[in-house]
Point group: C2
Chain length 97, copies 2
């Protein structure tokens, strides 16, 4: 199934930036980065449970926000894009809010 | 239907920042801001056509990226959240990349 992961992670502290890099790497290992803080991951239910568990362990639930959208298996017609399609490098382009 | 709008708009120019404010206001008038650059809008098909037309007119398609996810009408079970749920002010909290 296609799962969209969008996150806002506090980045005004070094700890927040570290969490941001770890989240980006986790998402990047399961999917494609489509915007600075939005990933589209292709996982089955069991893989998603593991991925979610890792996300919960990485973030600080009092400071960081992760929004997840489940697009299911017929996801192709559920996604639309307007404008620039960017290429991201997970290390250099980590979003600093 | 529930439509998720996520955008990356160039903000290192005053023109880019102006586009960002206009996109945020447009999305805010049709939905709720759930993260810095992610909105969840409740629109029917005709309303979405108008909204998309406005987005296309606002952004610079060579610089800005807008990603849209159509969650349909049974969207409640397609959204999950981990961590902090933020309150946003569309003017003050416009994301500066």
């Amino acid at each position: 199934m296609r799962v969209v992961v969008s996150y806002d992670v506090r980045t005004d502290t070094s700890e927040g930036r570290r969490r941001l890099r770890r989240i980006a790497k986790l998402c990047e290992s399961n999917g494609v980065r489509v915007q600075y803080s939005v990933f589209e991951c292709q996982v089955d239910s069991a893989e998603w449970v593991k991925m979610k568990d890792k996300i919960v362990k990485i973030i600080n639930e009092d400071e960081d926000s992760v929004r997840v959208y489940f697009l299911g298996s017929n996801w192709q017609r559920k996604i639309s894009h307007i404008g620039l399609k960017k290429h991201f490098d997970v290390v250099d382009d980590t979003l600093i809010l």
